[in-house]
Structures are given as C-alpha cells and as structure tokens.
Amino acid sequence: MRAAIPAIRQNGGGYIVNIISALGKTISTEAAVFSALSGGLRIATKSAALECARQEPRIMVNAVLVGAVDVPQLAAGKTGLPDLGLGPTIDAGSVAAAAAQLVCADSAYVTGMEIYADGGYAAAPAR
C-alpha cells in the first residue's frame, strides 16, 4: 500500500483490495500468530481507507476475507500448514470475483469494508 498509494493518486485515484485470511476475524488452534497478523492487516486496511478517503484524489481501500482456498498445493497437502479447519474450500475464482467487485465503480462509495468469501466460516463461533 505504501508503494502503490502515491502512484494511484498520481493516476487520479482508484482502488486497493487486500486479500486476508478469515482467521483475521475468527480464530483456530495452531494459528495464533497468523490470526494476529491477519487481524492486524484488517485494521491496517481500515486505517488506510480512512487516510485515503480524506485526501483527494480518493482511493477506496477494502479487503476480501477468505476461507481455505482450493489451490493445487492444498489438495496435495503441500501447504506446510496445519489443518486450520477452515471448512469447505473456496474456489479461487470466487475470491477473484469478490476482489473485482471492490476495484470497480460498483464500489465508489465503499471503503474500509470487507467481503467475506468464506462460506460463512467467520460468522460462526470458533470450533
């Protein structure tokens, strides 16, 4: 964001979207640091949104919170991650679709907001 914001401003404003794990909102075992860092990125997103909203040309800064994304490494068990219990996997195309929603004129009045592409995972209590 630090590198991109000046360039986007120079271009007349625009959009930033951060892709963040749903573990930034809820929790799991064996993921304390990952959750903390993801939660920090959520707050950084909102802080950047406020700064970028107050200064023209404006930049809308939002996030997509994702569950376990169905990538080949995950299917092959090669992510090196413990099973975080993130529920059914999310296809990567739906994450891209959510990100696309946040980087077009549809989101001209949306900033500091999060789309949860996680199958409802973060809306439930940790288990």
Binding site: L50, R54, Y109
Partner: protein
Amino acid sequence: MTGRLAGNVALITGGTGALGRTFSLAFAREGARVVASGRNEERGVETARLVNEAGGEAIFAPHDITHPEDWRHVVDHTLKTFGRLDTLINNAGDAVLKPITDLTPEDLEYLMRLNFEGPFLGMQEVIPRMKDGGAIINITVLTAMVGNANSTAYSIAKGGLAHLTRAVARDCVQQGNGVRVNAVVPGVLFEGGVVSPGATRVHGGPEGARRFQEQIIAKTPLGRIGEPTDAAAAAVFLASDDARHVTGMEYVVDGGRMAGGN
C-alpha cells in the same frame, strides 16, 4: 445488459419506494426477472412499468409483509408467473426517530413488525421454496451495528434483522440448502447525493433535512452522500454467482463511516 443475474427471479419488498425501485431496475438490467412488492399499488405498478420500459421484465404484487398469508400469496404468484424464486430482498421498512423517552409502545410495535417480523416471516416462507438454492439480502442500517441517538427502537428492530441474517445464514449452511443470507447496510444514500424532500418527515422538515445533509457529509470519510445505485451494486453482487461462497456477512455501503467501527 451484462447478465450477471440471467435466469434469476427476484422478489423485492418495498418495490414501491425509491431504494426498492433502484434495486428493481438494477436487477432487471443484469437479466433478473423482478417481482416488486408493496402496499402502494400505484407506486408499485410504476416501478414495474419503469423496469419493463427499460427492457426488463417485472410485475407488481400487493404485499403487506407483516402478514404470513400475504407472503404465501406473493410467493405463489411469483412461482406461477416466473416458475422459480432465486432472490429475496427484504427491503421494505420504516423509521421513527425520537429519543427513547418519547417513543410509545405503538412506535416500538410498529418498528418491530415492519423491520424485523416482516423479513422473519419472509425468510420462513421463501427458504423451502427456493428449489435450487438462492440468496436472501436483508437491508439493514448503520445503527443496526452501532448506537446512535434517536434510533433506539429503530436500531433494535434493524439490529435484530442484522443478527437474524447471521443466524439464518448458519441455519442454511447446516441444512445444506444452498441459500445464502447476507445484509446490505446502506449509509445515507439519495439520488444525486442530496437528501430528498421525502426524507423531511423523519428529519423534521426541509431545514432539518438540510442540517442532516451537512452533518452526514462532515461525518463521512468519502465526503459525500451516496447514491441508491451504490447499494444496488452490492445487492447485485450478493445475488450473483460471484458471491457463491459469501454468506452471513454485512456488505456496508457507507462512504467509509463504519471503517473504524466494525
């Protein structure tokens, strides 16, 4: 027509009002067939006419959302006319804004019935009748998420609807019925970014509406009032296949006001 909602049939309550009309037009533009429901026949028929005139397909259905039998009839009528139901937008609602000490029991009952019980009855009716899964979109308000002066009864009714959204989303995940349940949370949205004369009832006349406009702009990080089409864009996304993994969330369209508060 980009057709993000091609094949989709949407029931939009409060299709008689400004926001419901905007939803109806936006959904039709994306290829959905629309049932705009409500109590005011003249305005509902006008919504359907505007949609049809723009090349879409819509009908009006008379509907008091506080009556279970009305829901039954409207959904029957939708299925008879269009053969399916994919999306429900619980948009109908109303506000009474006064300090808690001035609210009457009748105010509370009216707000709960219209903003909470109506959508509750609607979800009960439509979920079993969405045969291929579907999307429910509840329209709440920022004061459903945070406290605000003069909003006690209104905000508990809408806050109840916000929580109902999360709970029903989990119900549907557990039942595996393919119905996704989300909320759109609009900030202050008016066509052209100007508080409409119609809003003067709740804000105390034209002078009140003008002051309200100034306050909102000062409080909004993006520095302006939004457009109803901004909320419609969020609803289109939530109804579309793009949101296939999105359920139980609140899609806030408020110019950044809630960025620090949720």
